[in-house]
């Protein structure tokens, strides 16, 4: 399996605070890798570093064999690495279609080709009926789809998804899980940050757990869920398994417990 993304010794310090420490991470072509960890673990910072929004304090980031450290985000995107934002960032005044066209222009030769490509992707993510609506009028769930569509339109080999399921209800979550699988089926590798445990467990080939900016554990979802250190990191003081968002034993904690049993 060819390695698409290789991160080695990645470190980021903001003043005296270390957000990410000596992280090693790998995503092979065709994989779905989940990046999980309690709030504040530094996951989004890792995305910022990979996508070129922050410069690393130390460490190497190689995409398709070439270093991307120091490149501007747009240049990294052109090489085939796209990302979504944790708090969705649509081009509010532009239509759904135009939003996606901006991404499509990354690969398309002209505006007409970009429009064709964007239309196809807008349909693919299920926003076909809303293509002419201004992005600001979309629901949160639709904005998340739009964010993913725009990233997909840039023609990436690797797509970074940052908590696309946060704020969604269970039905919407299921729909997004389906969409992610379909994106994967198109040949896009994925690195996903997620707090909704069932989703990330179900989707990922491999999980990487981050805690206080450092890698705590790595492996198949089942193994990671059994890992004592991971459970402790998520547990906190009360001894009740909680997910990173602080919710009780209903969802994620139950998933971990079930794996244990």
């Amino acid at each position: 399996m060819t390695t698409l993304l290789e991160v080695h010794g990645l470190t980021k310090r903001f003043g005296g605070l270390q957000a990410v420490g000596a992280l090693d991470l790998r995503v092979a072509a065709g994989e779905i890798v989940g990046l999980i960890g309690p709030n504040g673990a530094g996951k989004t910072t890792v995305f910022h570093l990979i996508a070129g929004f922050h410069a690393p304090t130390a460490g190497a980031i190689r995409f398709k064999g070439a270093s991307v450290v120091g490149l501007k985000p747009h240049a990294i995107c052109r090489r085939g690495l796209a990302r979504t934002f944790q708090i969705v960032q649509p081009f509010a005044a532009l239509s759904t279609l135009d939003n996606v066209m901006v991404g499509a222009l990354n690969r398309a030769g002209d505006v007409a080709a970009a429009r064709r490509s964007a239309l196809e992707i807008v349909e693919f993510v299920g926003l076909g009926a809303k293509s002419r609506l201004p992005a600001r009028s979309l629901t949160l769930s639709d904005r998340k789809r739009l964010e993913m569509a725009r990233g997909l339109a840039t023609g990436p080999e690797l797509l970074l998804l940052d908590e696309v399921m946060s704020g969604l209800n269970p039905t919407e979550i299921d729909e997004i899980i389906g969409l992610i699988r379909r994106i994967h089926a198109r040949g896009v590798s994925l690195l996903i940050i997620e707090h909704v445990m069932q989703a990330i467990m179900a989707l990922s080939d491999r999980l990487v757990v981050l805690h206080h900016g450092e890698k705590l554990a790595e492996g198949a979802p089942a193994e990671v869920a059994r890992d004592r250190r991971v459970i402790e990191a998520y547990l906190g003081e009360e001894g009740e398994p909680r997910d990173a968002a602080g919710r009780g034993p209903r969802g994620p904690g139950r998933a971990i417990r079930e794996e244990e049993a």
Binding site: F53, P73, H74, A75, C77, D110, G151, T154
Partner: protein, 317 residues
């Protein structure tokens, strides 16, 4: 379809009517188109790229002084001098733009720095004998010579500024639909998201800056040839910067027709004010200030925004 018919009629009127108009109306119409032109030029950077320059006078002045100096000192026809001025202004704009955007100046900070650049040029002009300092430069109009951009009577100037205004609107229209237009809209809405989608924000802003500064400079040459006199205050001063951006804001920044509409509303009103408050200097600018406050307060998207809001939808700005 009705809109298209109206546009054709309006265009027809703009082309055919002027020879029949009394001199004063022709002058006002020239002013309207002149400010529409300046507004459209500003609009490429201000409305479309979302970078509100308060210092476009810098480019206006560079255009006016370059063509005039070349004409006075070397006899070069202002038709060519105009292009030289445009090129020089674009170069200055790229330099100023690169410094500003590279160092991340946005919003009010960008506005302030452009203001500073324009003022610096003004101070240099005031203190440089070779360009006439405060006394300015006079363009000799005694002998009309079309090949030297000098005409007897106002009508030729009218058609020139009409062509320029339509040309600027055409440039805006083409840009809006091009890849650059999409990239500009993205950067304007959300620069980080644009970068993440593969848009080179810096490159795109610089392109807008080059177009905007080039066009504005051409306007400076027109002014010099039409009014036959330029000085640092007129060409590099904040007044022309403001007069350039007002039509675009009032009409609707980021739209093709906005500057034209804005100028058609603002200019006659300011002329009227000046006529009514005869000789009271400042009455028209006072009006600009009032209009600006009112438009921002009640019509923040300008007239075009208001018109579009009436017809439902309209996703593209």
């Amino acid at each position: 379809m009705a809109a298209r018919a109206a546009a054709v009629v309006a265009l027809g009127a703009l082309v055919a009517a002027p020879p029949l108009l009394p001199k004063y109306f022709l002058e006002v119409l020239i002013s309207v188109l002149f400010f529409a032109y300046l507004g459209a030029s500003w609009n490429v950077l201000g409305g479309y790229a979302g970078q509100f320059s308060f210092g476009h006078a810098a480019f206006f002045g560079i255009g006016a002084y370059t063509s005039t100096l070349l004409f006075l000192r070397t006899g070069l026809t202002p038709w060519l001098g105009m292009l030289a001025g445009g090129g020089l202004a674009a170069a200055f704009g790229l330099l100023a733009g690169y410094l500003s955007f590279r160092y991340g100046l946005k919003g009010p900070y960008f506005s302030l720095v452009t203001l500073a650049f324009a003022e610096m040029l003004r101070v240099v002009a005031v203190n440089t004998k070779a360009v006439g300092s405060s006394l300015g430069l006079v363009v000799p109009t005694a002998h009309p010579a079309p090949h030297l951009f000098l005409f007897a009577g106002k009508l030729p100037y009218y058609y020139i500024i009409l062509a320029m205004a339509l040309g600027a609107l055409a440039v805006t229209w083409v840009v809006e639909r091009s890849r650059l237009g999409y990239a500009l809209a993205a950067v304007r809405e959300n620069e980080d998201a644009a970068e993440a989608a593969g848009v080179d924000a810096l490159g795109v802003k610089l392109r807008a800056m080059a177009i905007s500064s080039f066009l504005t400079a051409l306007g400076g040459t027109f002014y010099a040839q039409y009014f036959a006199y330029i000085d640092p205050g007129i060409t590099f001063g904040p007044t022309v910067s403001i007069q350039g951006l007002l039509p675009a804001i009032v009409g609707g920044a980021g739209t093709v027709l906005g500057p034209l509409l804005g100028s058609f509303v603002l200019t006659p009103v300011s002329e009227l004010t000046r006529a009514l408050l005869r000789g009271r200097a400042g009455a028209d600018v006072m009006l600009y200030g009032l209009v600006l406050v009112l438009v921002i307060s009640f019509l923040p998207q300008g007239l075009m925004g208001f018109i579009r809001g009436r017809r439902a939808g309209g996703a593209r700005p």
